[in-house]
Subunit: 478 residues, 2 copies
Amino acid sequence: MTTPTSTAPDFPALDPSALDDLAAKLSPGALTTDPDVIDAHSSDEALFCPREGAIALVRAASAEDVQEVMAFASAHRVPVVPQGARSGISGGANASPGAILLNVSKMKDVVAVNEAERLVTVQPGIINQDLKDHLAPFGLSYPPDPGSVALSSIGGNIATNAGGLCCVKYGVTRDYVRSLKVVLADGTITTLGPQTAKGVAGLDMRHLFIGSEGTLGIVVEATLRLVPALPEPFTAIATFPDERSGLQTVADFMAGGGVPSLFEFLDGASLRMLNDYGDFGLDGDAGAMLIMQVDDNPADAEAAMSTFTEVAQRCGALDVAYSDDPSDSAALITARRMIQPAYEKFANAHGGGQLLDDVCLPRTAVPEFCDRLAELRSSSGLEIALVAHAGDGNMHPSVFFDSGDAAETAKAEGVFAEIMRIGLELGGTITGEHGVGFLKRAWLPNELDEGSRRIQLAVKNALDPLGILNPGKMLAEI
Amino acid sequence: MTTPTSTAPDFPALDPSALDDLAAKLSPGALTTDPDVIDAHSSDEALFCPREGAIALVRAASAEDVQEVMAFASAHRVPVVPQGARSGISGGANASPGAILLNVSKMKDVVAVNEAERLVTVQPGIINQDLKDHLAPFGLSYPPDPGSVALSSIGGNIATNAGGLCCVKYGVTRDYVRSLKVVLADGTITTLGPQTAKGVAGLDMRHLFIGSEGTLGIVVEATLRLVPALPEPFTAIATFPDERSGLQTVADFMAGGGVPSLFEFLDGASLRMLNDYGDFGLDGDAGAMLIMQVDDNPADAEAAMSTFTEVAQRCGALDVAYSDDPSDSAALITARRMIQPAYEKFANAHGGGQLLDDVCLPRTAVPEFCDRLAELRSSSGLEIALVAHAGDGNMHPSVFFDSGDAAETAKAEGVFAEIMRIGLELGGTITGEHGVGFLKRAWLPNELDEGSRRIQLAVKNALDPLGILNPGKMLAEI
């Protein structure tokens, strides 16, 4: 396939010697123009997104470095692509023509843990799991757990308002951001949001910046709200003859007032790929699987397990098992954790291509969505497998294709788009937690009405009048 | 005292006949220019805020009415003051010169309850308690519970991101807003935010509008996230010889991992006023009181009650009592519910004036804050009483004064301002949940840094280029 070209606005050519002036103002060695190094930092994990044209990489060591880069970028009208761990899958961290890649992954300190206030202040580059590990000895938890928890940074989590598996009970990144230090387009540093539990003084710029994908400014420090250490969960696992019976179990359990801390769904195709990847004790006939966790106190959790068993059996479960032993829990969710390697094995055996989508639906629309996926699988001839955060309607279908076959690749891209169209038709959104980035920018106008598009652009233009912050990405086509 | 004049921008004079044209486009009888009716709708519950100069009142019956008013206001550059129940206490709903008062309190329908998705869609005028009552038969709860729960409307709660007593566990209004229908300055109607549990498609305009106090647009419909019916709480009440011992109890209980669903503090002055108001079985020697609720399952709640008792006694409590009987709980928190009438009795006996403040602090700064209040009481000679949402550091001190005495009134205003100054000095915010409105607009620049002020104004100007939405209020002096 041909990689689409970026529609970033035209920027004036920069006199290369100007970069020397910038380098002199930054931490020693922070700026490089080595083409190989730039190339190695020019993309995240997304497929089909342009990654060409960066002119420099700055590995910022401090907020001051970030300020210098933005002041320089404003003075010379140079585009800037903010980056963290580059673990995203929407191309939001990909290079664009003429851009400085501004990477904050070296800024990864825990600045302070405040046990009395249940707060932690961190630099943006810290990896989510590293933060969790740091907090454990304090008896404190930072709940958000994107699938990329071991790879992705807090700054990136904030930039995309990352979700994860625990959202069904604990919410998303936004729900844990107390205040942000942000560098604006012109290099000004500002603090957004109070350090207090409540606060309504002025427009809430903090929440505007969360999820803005580097288009409004660059987070250089975040103070996050914590909760007491999460209890060890009880885990239940159930297999079903088909998807409908599994999804009915989700609907009935939630309608009964269930409050799971994790509620994952795997479809038949996913189970076949898992069985092909390893022995997880899965019934070869199973057409769907649910994994459900509850982390209430033992009595309530035990009751929830019984209710779940009863509901699942009434809906036709082939098998239900649960455990209150944390080591058993870990074993029970192994299948869920191995789904991406299993997908990769399947993909590698079928031409290597996998496009992972991320639509979020009203929970009640999920059964219809699964039927539509089955139709798509049939009409396209491509394999599609679904894993879902079923408790909150967040669907992650993967489309598999032969990446060496241009026609099949184009077909896979069409299926990927069709999944978004179906998501919108069923009352959902084109992205629940992965973000728009480059990958879905052409689809954003299909989700937003005219007024919403207009005020988003107005806000973007007001905060970044030169259009230098991550151009060609999220809002580029609305 | 002299009421300060508004600094709203100058607007061109409107030909009065133009209002006839507007009236003809609205629901029958929606617009009135009757001076008495306008006057009766020209203020909320705030003191010391201007309320003069409105030219018309529109009681909108529909989103279309709101659109017509805004289209008219944009065409003629007429200021518009959005209003709901006018129960606010910051003057945010007060009239301003030349303004149309746009009241949405007649738009109070429950549009839909979606049990399967745990969502409710409402018009903005519905009273918070009426919504709670409507949801009870469905076994669903909308947690936010501002002190004005029986008076204030959901639209106003969204406009100020209202908090309340349950925030320490359940968060604030923002945490329950799924999507909004909003009318923009030019009359365009737009939907902000998806209906789904997760969603990151574009800039989050929904969160920008929450807490924007009618300065960016007018909410005409809201879809709110619900939770399963909240359990009946266990309630504990403890009295202490002084404030320090009560506040130490708060700190120690929270540090031990406690998760109360309500945690209220009353100081000695409040207790004296309560004892003067009625017999609540309060020890006359008590210098502070805590009321704490836990709504976990009975076993956990019982354990929390024991822990609380132990902590309170160790800190020197005079008396601790608790109950798991909901009717006892209601009796135990009667004193808390009666605090405002008790304040009013005291105020009425001392010249009638009461200024209620609303600073939010880091929880650990509360003891220092109480010491500062004692100093202020002493230096000013004015009575000051404190009730606080102690679990989240939200302080509501009241300053009492003789409203017929200009010098004492001015002194009270000075004390009110000094309380905000102390709040900022201790790392807090000038408003935890009441909003800025007119009352605190001059103080907002003291809280926000230069960058934050600049981008707030940039956003305001981008979305309301004519400056017609609630001028002279929140952002008028930054």
